[in-house]
Amino acid sequence: MSTILYEKKDGIGYITLNRPEELNAMNDEMLAELDRLLPQVEMDLDVKVVIFRGAGKDFCAGQDLTGVKTYEVLSEPGEHMTIKKRMEAERRRNRRWEYIFNLAKPTIAQVHGHCLGTGCYLSMVCDITIAAEDAQFGDPLLRMGLLPHMPLWLYLVGMKKTRELLLTGCYIDGIEAEKIGLINKAVPRDELEAEVENMAKGMALMHCDALAPAKDAINSVMEARGLGACWRFTNDMQLVMQQRTMLPEEYDFFAEREKKGLKVAIERRDAPFKKFCEER
């Protein structure tokens, strides 16, 4: 494995996203490795708690936007846009989030640096999120004409804050994220690892047969509150969104990337919002 590192120690499984030069952005390869790894981790009786973390300076900057081997994470305009094909990909994506959400053991996201887009989604589907105070959370998908598609936003931070964050695409830091309920706790950067370790070791004092139903009881309430249906709704809206025609005056991220490269395209995507977000 290269894009994912895995080790286990003292009843805890450490899954490290490992593309540090790319800010651990998710591409097809990373997801494929995750898909292979997780069922093994779930069944491993020596692992009671799973920790997700990122190598290098960031947790995860979101989906890889290069357009190279990113079919699973990015719906590009063009060839693969038939509804059936995209539906398959979207269903796979949701199955993955739901699977991590319902993994039969507790999961903890240890977040530092950037935690954006699908990286933020990963931290949301984990049971516990502990972050550095200066970590950056956000979901700027809408700025590229893509639909933010994680129903847990609503359940975690409520309708008002969900709209504020998703419709502006602005980022918030760990302290703010704790305040609005997106994460459990924000701690100074140098205490992050110890804090997560402590939580994981505390949970690992219990046996798997205590932890699994306790988690399931909570998740079953979320199911009763409609989460199951929400996965499907956001899924279908995502498909609809992908089929829309861009307006002439709209910022075309993909055309810009084609012409000027990825870095410029991302900069130009965020530039108009910069002042507004800072003044918020």
């Binding site: 939580m199 079953s220 009763a224």
Partner: protein, 298 residues
Amino acid sequence: MKYQNVLLKLDGRIATITLNRPEKLNAINDGMMRDLIKALEKVRKDYESLVVVIKGAGTSFCAGQDLSGEGTDEVMPPNPREKTYLFDMYAQGLKNQNLWQYIFEYPKITVAQVHGYCLGMGLDLAMHCRAVICTEDAVFGDPSVRMGIASANPLWTFRIGLKKTKEMLLTGKYIDGVEAEKIGLVMKAVPADQMEEVMAVETDGFARSSGIGGWDQQGVFWSSWMSIMQLSGMAAARQMTANVNVMSSIQRPHRTLIDRGGYDFYQVREEKGLKAAIEGRDAPFRKHFPEPKPKARK
């Protein structure tokens, strides 16, 4: 009517039900649950009272379900070493959910006045009241996961959100009143010496708002809120948490992974008694999740 386990005081607009087994930290057994429901029924039919305060006698509000194993057939899942029948357990689980729903839907304003320990089923009781007012040093938590039991209370994620719920219920950690106010588990936390004063003001306020249209109209108003809760999945959530709770409590030690770093509460209780079993359950966690302690008072 005489109650063995609670005290009922009807005093004009404010009724007070005091859980009264102070030597057991007001732990809930079958008798207390029955008395509590009976007392609530009595207050419901008393047209003078508009607000019900539920509080605890002695040093604590309520330390949770009675874990002694005696007189707890109705409130506790059976001892996993005894012969149990699935159907009985499901029937009991649903019956208990109906009792909690009764308290949740209660037509008059219920206020839990919490001091000292408020754990497990005691916290379930407080959470099913419309408002919780606590002392700053009160201690909240649900350690049932440490005994291998999944919480049967579906209100958690509605009250404090998904992330905090998981932190509380997957670790069994205890928090104090100040923290409880911060995360939305209680309405307000006040210094212990101001409790009576605050309660007088708050219950008077509640009684005045209940006076608008009388408790009858307030009851109807509350039912409309309850229908929103039902539409938000409350009914299904009750059924599902009851199911998972039963599922977790029918585990037999020899059929679980308890030997891989678990704690066999029932075994220790049998060998060393209840107190040692509770201490042994919580001790290893203190290093990871420091336990707040209520201040000792006369």
